[in-house]
Amino acid sequence: MPPESPPVAAPAPDASAPSPPLQPGLLELFLAFAKMSLAGFGGVLVWARRSIVEQHRWMTAEEFNETFALCHFLPGPNIVNLSVVFGSRFRGIAGGLAAFAGLVGPPMVIATVLAALYARYGDIDILRRTLAGVACAAVGLLFAVVLKMMMPLLKRRDVTGLIILAAVFVAIGLIRWPLQIVLVVAIPLSIATTVLARRMVKA
Protein backbone atom coordinates (compact mmCIF):
# COMPACT_ATOMS: atom_id res chain seq x y z
CA MET A 1 0.00 0.00 0.00
CA PRO A 2 1.59 3.28 -1.04
CA PRO A 3 1.75 5.51 2.01
CA GLU A 4 1.33 8.63 -0.09
CA SER A 5 -1.88 7.50 -1.74
CA PRO A 6 -4.58 9.98 -0.78
CA PRO A 7 -7.68 8.29 0.54
CA VAL A 8 -9.90 10.21 -1.84
CA ALA A 9 -13.06 8.27 -2.38
CA ALA A 10 -14.45 7.00 -5.60
CA PRO A 11 -17.27 9.11 -7.02
CA ALA A 12 -20.22 8.92 -4.69
CA PRO A 13 -22.84 6.50 -5.97
CA ASP A 14 -25.71 8.88 -5.32
CA ALA A 15 -24.15 11.39 -7.70
CA SER A 16 -25.18 9.02 -10.51
CA ALA A 17 -21.60 8.02 -11.13
CA PRO A 18 -21.01 6.20 -14.37
CA SER A 19 -17.76 4.45 -13.38
CA PRO A 20 -18.67 1.49 -11.10
CA PRO A 21 -19.81 -1.15 -13.54
CA LEU A 22 -21.79 -3.24 -11.09
CA GLN A 23 -23.90 -2.27 -8.12
CA PRO A 24 -24.02 -5.09 -5.59
CA GLY A 25 -27.28 -5.67 -3.78
CA LEU A 26 -27.57 -6.14 0.00
CA LEU A 27 -27.62 -9.93 -0.13
CA GLU A 28 -24.72 -9.91 -2.56
CA LEU A 29 -22.72 -7.69 -0.19
CA PHE A 30 -23.49 -9.93 2.76
CA LEU A 31 -22.53 -13.11 0.89
CA ALA A 32 -19.36 -11.66 -0.63
CA PHE A 33 -18.05 -10.50 2.75
CA ALA A 34 -19.09 -13.72 4.46
CA LYS A 35 -17.17 -15.71 1.85
CA MET A 36 -13.97 -13.68 2.07
CA SER A 37 -14.16 -13.71 5.84
CA LEU A 38 -14.55 -17.47 6.09
CA ALA A 39 -11.73 -17.97 3.59
CA GLY A 40 -9.45 -15.64 5.52
CA PHE A 41 -7.35 -17.54 7.97
CA GLY A 42 -4.87 -15.17 9.56
CA GLY A 43 -6.08 -12.10 7.71
CA VAL A 44 -8.96 -11.27 5.44
CA LEU A 45 -7.37 -8.45 3.44
CA VAL A 46 -5.90 -10.62 0.70
CA TRP A 47 -9.27 -12.24 0.10
CA ALA A 48 -11.07 -8.93 0.25
CA ARG A 49 -8.87 -7.54 -2.50
CA ARG A 50 -9.29 -10.67 -4.59
CA SER A 51 -13.06 -10.68 -4.24
CA ILE A 52 -13.75 -6.95 -4.63
CA VAL A 53 -11.20 -6.09 -7.32
CA GLU A 54 -10.61 -9.26 -9.31
CA GLN A 55 -13.69 -11.40 -8.94
CA HIS A 56 -16.60 -8.96 -8.70
CA ARG A 57 -14.87 -5.89 -10.19
CA TRP A 58 -16.76 -3.63 -7.80
CA MET A 59 -13.70 -1.40 -7.48
CA THR A 60 -10.50 -0.79 -9.39
CA ALA A 61 -7.22 -1.60 -7.63
CA GLU A 62 -6.61 2.11 -7.03
CA GLU A 63 -10.04 2.66 -5.54
CA PHE A 64 -9.48 -0.34 -3.29
CA ASN A 65 -6.09 0.98 -2.13
CA GLU A 66 -7.53 4.38 -1.39
CA THR A 67 -10.42 2.93 0.57
CA PHE A 68 -8.09 0.66 2.50
CA ALA A 69 -5.71 3.53 3.23
CA LEU A 70 -8.58 5.41 4.83
CA CYS A 71 -9.56 2.39 6.89
CA HIS A 72 -5.98 1.84 7.94
CA PHE A 73 -5.50 5.29 9.36
CA LEU A 74 -8.72 5.08 11.36
CA PRO A 75 -8.59 3.15 14.63
CA GLY A 76 -10.13 -0.27 15.06
CA PRO A 77 -10.03 -3.44 13.01
CA ASN A 78 -9.14 -2.25 9.48
CA ILE A 79 -11.08 -4.86 7.59
CA VAL A 80 -14.21 -4.19 9.65
CA ASN A 81 -13.91 -0.50 8.79
CA LEU A 82 -13.42 -1.46 5.16
CA SER A 83 -16.59 -3.53 5.08
CA VAL A 84 -18.68 -0.65 6.44
CA VAL A 85 -17.15 1.99 4.19
CA PHE A 86 -17.38 -0.27 1.15
CA GLY A 87 -20.95 -1.42 1.76
CA SER A 88 -22.23 2.07 2.50
CA ARG A 89 -20.63 3.46 -0.64
CA PHE A 90 -22.93 1.30 -2.73
CA ARG A 91 -26.06 0.93 -0.64
CA GLY A 92 -25.94 3.50 2.14
CA ILE A 93 -26.21 2.52 5.79
CA ALA A 94 -28.04 -0.71 4.99
CA GLY A 95 -25.20 -1.70 2.65
CA GLY A 96 -22.63 -0.97 5.33
CA LEU A 97 -24.56 -3.09 7.81
CA ALA A 98 -24.97 -5.95 5.31
CA ALA A 99 -21.23 -6.06 4.54
CA PHE A 100 -20.38 -5.77 8.26
CA ALA A 101 -22.80 -8.55 9.18
CA GLY A 102 -21.36 -10.79 6.45
CA LEU A 103 -17.80 -10.15 7.55
CA VAL A 104 -18.29 -10.54 11.29
CA GLY A 105 -21.42 -12.70 11.70
CA PRO A 106 -20.49 -16.16 10.40
CA PRO A 107 -16.94 -16.24 11.84
CA MET A 108 -18.32 -14.92 15.12
CA VAL A 109 -20.61 -17.94 15.30
CA ILE A 110 -17.60 -20.19 14.71
CA ALA A 111 -15.54 -18.32 17.32
CA THR A 112 -18.39 -18.66 19.84
CA VAL A 113 -18.61 -22.40 19.26
CA LEU A 114 -14.83 -22.70 19.68
CA ALA A 115 -15.01 -20.61 22.86
CA ALA A 116 -17.70 -22.90 24.25
CA LEU A 117 -15.60 -25.96 23.42
CA TYR A 118 -12.59 -24.34 25.06
CA ALA A 119 -14.59 -23.47 28.19
CA ARG A 120 -15.64 -27.09 28.42
CA TYR A 121 -12.49 -28.95 27.41
CA GLY A 122 -9.79 -26.33 27.90
CA ASP A 123 -8.40 -28.11 30.93
CA ILE A 124 -7.63 -31.34 29.09
CA ASP A 125 -3.88 -31.72 29.00
CA ILE A 126 -3.54 -32.67 25.32
CA LEU A 127 -5.59 -29.66 24.25
CA ARG A 128 -3.58 -27.36 26.50
CA ARG A 129 -0.33 -28.63 25.01
CA THR A 130 -1.62 -28.34 21.45
CA LEU A 131 -2.84 -24.80 21.94
CA ALA A 132 0.46 -23.87 23.55
CA GLY A 133 2.19 -25.05 20.36
CA VAL A 134 -0.21 -23.10 18.16
CA ALA A 135 0.36 -19.98 20.28
CA CYS A 136 4.14 -20.21 19.74
CA ALA A 137 3.68 -20.28 15.97
CA ALA A 138 0.99 -17.59 16.07
CA VAL A 139 3.33 -15.23 17.92
CA GLY A 140 5.93 -15.91 15.24
CA LEU A 141 3.43 -14.87 12.56
CA LEU A 142 2.79 -11.65 14.44
CA PHE A 143 6.52 -10.89 14.57
CA ALA A 144 6.75 -11.56 10.83
CA VAL A 145 4.11 -8.88 10.21
CA VAL A 146 6.10 -6.52 12.42
CA LEU A 147 9.27 -7.20 10.42
CA LYS A 148 7.50 -6.74 7.08
CA MET A 149 6.03 -3.43 8.18
CA MET A 150 9.39 -2.25 9.54
CA MET A 151 11.26 -2.83 6.29
CA PRO A 152 10.15 0.44 4.59
CA LEU A 153 11.20 2.42 7.69
CA LEU A 154 14.60 0.71 7.72
CA LYS A 155 15.11 1.26 3.99
CA ARG A 156 14.21 4.94 4.30
CA ARG A 157 16.50 5.23 7.35
CA ASP A 158 13.56 6.86 9.09
CA VAL A 159 15.30 7.40 12.44
CA THR A 160 12.53 9.37 14.13
CA GLY A 161 9.98 6.77 13.05
CA LEU A 162 12.12 3.99 14.48
CA ILE A 163 12.62 5.90 17.75
CA ILE A 164 8.87 6.41 18.10
CA LEU A 165 8.33 2.73 17.29
CA ALA A 166 10.82 1.69 19.96
CA ALA A 167 9.39 4.10 22.53
CA VAL A 168 5.86 2.75 22.03
CA PHE A 169 7.18 -0.81 22.25
CA VAL A 170 8.93 -0.09 25.56
CA ALA A 171 6.02 1.88 27.05
CA ILE A 172 3.37 -0.73 26.20
CA GLY A 173 5.35 -3.98 26.05
CA LEU A 174 7.85 -3.53 28.88
CA ILE A 175 6.53 -0.84 31.25
CA ARG A 176 2.92 -1.83 30.51
CA TRP A 177 1.45 1.65 30.56
CA PRO A 178 -2.21 1.92 29.47
CA LEU A 179 -2.71 2.35 25.73
CA GLN A 180 -4.71 5.58 25.94
CA ILE A 181 -2.04 7.41 27.93
CA VAL A 182 0.73 6.32 25.58
CA LEU A 183 -1.23 7.30 22.49
CA VAL A 184 -2.24 10.71 23.84
CA VAL A 185 1.49 11.51 24.00
CA ALA A 186 2.71 9.54 20.99
CA ILE A 187 0.16 10.52 18.33
CA PRO A 188 0.71 14.32 18.48
CA LEU A 189 4.46 13.75 18.70
CA SER A 190 4.48 11.48 15.68
CA ILE A 191 2.27 13.81 13.62
CA ALA A 192 4.51 16.76 14.50
CA THR A 193 7.68 14.96 13.46
CA THR A 194 6.04 13.72 10.26
CA VAL A 195 4.98 17.27 9.31
CA LEU A 196 8.44 18.60 10.17
CA ALA A 197 10.16 15.90 8.14
CA ARG A 198 7.99 16.64 5.11
CA ARG A 199 8.72 20.37 5.38
CA MET A 200 12.46 19.64 5.53
CA VAL A 201 12.21 17.47 2.42
CA LYS A 202 10.39 20.22 0.55
CA ALA A 203 12.82 22.95 1.66
Binding site: F73, M108, A137
Partner: protein, 177 residues
Protein backbone atom coordinates in the same frame (compact mmCIF):
# COMPACT_ATOMS: atom_id res chain seq x y z
CA UNK B 1 -13.62 1.77 35.69
CA UNK B 2 -13.58 -1.71 37.15
CA UNK B 3 -16.52 -1.12 39.46
CA UNK B 4 -19.31 -1.95 37.01
CA UNK B 5 -21.75 -4.36 38.54
CA UNK B 6 -22.54 -6.34 35.38
CA UNK B 7 -19.79 -8.14 33.49
CA UNK B 8 -21.48 -7.31 30.17
CA UNK B 9 -21.33 -3.60 30.98
CA UNK B 10 -17.64 -3.98 31.83
CA UNK B 11 -17.03 -5.75 28.50
CA UNK B 12 -18.88 -3.08 26.51
CA UNK B 13 -17.09 -0.24 28.27
CA UNK B 14 -13.65 -1.85 27.98
CA UNK B 15 -13.84 -2.84 24.31
CA UNK B 16 -15.94 0.11 23.19
CA UNK B 17 -13.27 2.47 24.45
CA UNK B 18 -10.45 0.27 23.14
CA UNK B 19 -12.07 0.26 19.70
CA UNK B 20 -11.40 3.97 19.32
CA UNK B 21 -7.78 3.64 20.49
CA UNK B 22 -6.88 0.55 18.45
CA UNK B 23 -4.46 2.30 16.14
CA UNK B 24 -3.30 -0.09 13.45
CA UNK B 25 -5.99 -2.68 13.92
CA UNK B 26 -6.72 -5.67 16.11
CA UNK B 27 -3.20 -7.10 16.32
CA UNK B 28 -1.92 -3.82 17.71
CA UNK B 29 -4.56 -3.89 20.43
CA UNK B 30 -3.66 -7.34 21.76
CA UNK B 31 -1.29 -5.88 24.33
CA UNK B 32 -4.07 -3.64 25.62
CA UNK B 33 -6.56 -6.53 25.58
CA UNK B 34 -4.11 -8.51 27.72
CA UNK B 35 -3.76 -5.61 30.13
CA UNK B 36 -7.54 -5.26 30.44
CA UNK B 37 -8.47 -8.95 30.54
CA UNK B 38 -5.61 -10.34 32.63
CA UNK B 39 -4.16 -7.48 34.71
CA UNK B 40 -7.13 -5.17 35.32
CA UNK B 41 -10.29 -7.31 35.31
CA UNK B 42 -8.81 -10.78 35.95
CA UNK B 43 -11.15 -12.29 33.38
CA UNK B 44 -8.46 -14.68 32.13
CA UNK B 45 -5.17 -16.10 33.33
CA UNK B 46 -1.99 -15.58 31.33
CA UNK B 47 -2.23 -19.12 29.96
CA UNK B 48 -5.89 -18.72 29.03
CA UNK B 49 -5.07 -15.50 27.20
CA UNK B 50 -2.36 -17.23 25.16
CA UNK B 51 -4.83 -20.06 24.41
CA UNK B 52 -7.51 -17.63 23.31
CA UNK B 53 -4.99 -15.86 21.09
CA UNK B 54 -4.05 -19.20 19.53
CA UNK B 55 -7.70 -20.15 18.91
CA UNK B 56 -8.45 -16.78 17.34
CA UNK B 57 -5.55 -17.21 14.93
CA UNK B 58 -6.72 -20.72 14.06
CA UNK B 59 -10.27 -19.73 13.27
CA UNK B 60 -11.35 -17.94 10.08
CA UNK B 61 -12.39 -14.31 9.95
CA UNK B 62 -10.87 -11.04 11.03
CA UNK B 63 -8.33 -11.15 13.87
CA UNK B 64 -10.54 -8.93 15.98
CA UNK B 65 -12.64 -11.98 16.84
CA UNK B 66 -10.28 -12.65 19.75
CA UNK B 67 -12.66 -10.35 21.64
CA UNK B 68 -15.51 -12.78 20.90
CA UNK B 69 -13.54 -15.47 22.73
CA UNK B 70 -12.70 -13.16 25.64
CA UNK B 71 -16.33 -12.06 25.86
CA UNK B 72 -17.55 -15.65 25.92
CA UNK B 73 -15.26 -16.61 28.77
CA UNK B 74 -16.57 -13.64 30.78
CA UNK B 75 -20.32 -13.90 30.17
CA UNK B 76 -21.19 -16.69 27.73
CA UNK B 77 -22.91 -16.06 24.40
CA UNK B 78 -24.19 -12.65 25.50
CA UNK B 79 -20.67 -11.66 26.46
CA UNK B 80 -19.32 -12.86 23.12
CA UNK B 81 -21.85 -10.77 21.22
CA UNK B 82 -21.44 -7.71 23.45
CA UNK B 83 -17.64 -7.72 23.24
CA UNK B 84 -17.66 -8.13 19.45
CA UNK B 85 -20.19 -5.37 18.81
CA UNK B 86 -18.46 -3.06 21.30
CA UNK B 87 -15.06 -3.59 19.66
CA UNK B 88 -16.35 -3.12 16.09
CA UNK B 89 -19.23 -0.69 16.45
CA UNK B 90 -17.71 2.66 17.48
CA UNK B 91 -14.87 2.53 14.97
CA UNK B 92 -17.17 1.32 12.18
CA UNK B 93 -19.46 4.28 12.81
CA UNK B 94 -16.45 6.59 12.81
CA UNK B 95 -15.21 5.08 9.54
CA UNK B 96 -18.63 5.59 7.98
CA UNK B 97 -18.79 9.28 8.86
CA UNK B 98 -15.16 10.02 8.03
CA UNK B 99 -15.45 8.39 4.61
CA UNK B 100 -18.57 10.41 3.84
CA UNK B 101 -16.85 13.57 5.00
CA UNK B 102 -13.81 12.87 2.82
CA UNK B 103 -16.04 12.11 -0.15
CA UNK B 104 -17.26 15.67 0.10
CA UNK B 105 -14.18 17.58 1.16
CA UNK B 106 -11.53 15.80 -0.91
CA UNK B 107 -8.75 17.39 1.10
CA UNK B 108 -6.38 14.46 1.02
CA UNK B 109 -3.35 16.03 2.69
CA UNK B 110 -4.17 15.44 6.34
CA UNK B 111 -5.31 11.83 6.13
CA UNK B 112 -2.06 10.98 4.35
CA UNK B 113 0.04 12.72 7.01
CA UNK B 114 -1.86 11.14 9.89
CA UNK B 115 -1.60 7.76 8.26
CA UNK B 116 2.17 8.08 7.81
CA UNK B 117 2.50 9.25 11.42
CA UNK B 118 0.53 6.29 12.74
CA UNK B 119 2.61 3.63 10.97
CA UNK B 120 5.50 3.54 13.49
CA UNK B 121 3.01 3.59 16.37
CA UNK B 122 1.08 0.61 15.11
CA UNK B 123 4.28 -1.36 14.46
CA UNK B 124 5.46 -0.63 17.99
CA UNK B 125 2.09 -1.71 19.40
CA UNK B 126 2.14 -4.92 17.37
CA UNK B 127 5.65 -5.75 18.56
CA UNK B 128 4.54 -5.17 22.14
CA UNK B 129 1.57 -7.50 21.55
CA UNK B 130 3.95 -10.18 20.28
CA UNK B 131 6.22 -9.78 23.28
CA UNK B 132 3.35 -10.03 25.77
CA UNK B 133 1.95 -13.24 24.31
CA UNK B 134 5.46 -14.66 23.85
CA UNK B 135 6.19 -14.16 27.55
CA UNK B 136 3.44 -16.69 28.26
CA UNK B 137 3.70 -19.02 25.30
CA UNK B 138 7.46 -19.29 24.90
CA UNK B 139 8.46 -20.98 28.13
CA UNK B 140 10.99 -23.45 26.69
CA UNK B 141 13.80 -23.07 24.19
CA UNK B 142 11.90 -25.26 21.73
CA UNK B 143 8.91 -22.96 22.04
CA UNK B 144 11.15 -19.98 21.28
CA UNK B 145 12.58 -21.87 18.33
CA UNK B 146 9.09 -22.54 16.93
CA UNK B 147 8.29 -18.84 17.19
CA UNK B 148 11.51 -17.87 15.42
CA UNK B 149 11.07 -20.43 12.64
CA UNK B 150 7.42 -19.43 12.10
CA UNK B 151 8.43 -15.75 11.97
CA UNK B 152 11.25 -16.44 9.52
CA UNK B 153 9.08 -18.59 7.24
CA UNK B 154 6.21 -16.12 7.24
CA UNK B 155 8.63 -13.28 6.57
CA UNK B 156 10.64 -14.87 3.79
CA UNK B 157 8.26 -17.27 2.05
CA UNK B 158 4.69 -17.33 0.77
CA UNK B 159 3.71 -20.49 2.62
CA UNK B 160 0.14 -20.32 3.92
CA UNK B 161 0.50 -19.36 7.62
CA UNK B 162 -2.15 -21.91 8.52
CA UNK B 163 0.45 -24.65 7.95
CA UNK B 164 2.74 -23.07 10.53
CA UNK B 165 -0.07 -22.89 13.09
CA UNK B 166 -0.88 -26.56 12.44
CA UNK B 167 2.79 -27.53 12.72
CA UNK B 168 3.03 -25.68 16.03
CA UNK B 169 -0.10 -27.45 17.23
CA UNK B 170 1.26 -30.86 16.21
CA UNK B 171 4.52 -30.24 18.05
CA UNK B 172 2.54 -29.20 21.10
CA UNK B 173 0.31 -32.24 20.78
CA UNK B 174 3.40 -34.45 20.61
CA UNK B 175 4.58 -32.92 23.87
CA UNK B 176 7.68 -31.31 22.38
CA UNK B 177 6.92 -27.70 23.33
Amino acid sequence: MSSESSPIAALVWTFGLMSLFAVGGANSAISEMHRAAVDVHHWLTDKQFADVFAISQLSPGPNVLIVTLIGYSVAGVGGALAATVAMCGPTALLAYYVSRFLDRSRDARWPAIIQAALVPLSIGLMAASGLIVAQTSDQSWIAVLITIVAAALAFATRINPLWMLLAGGLLGFAGVV
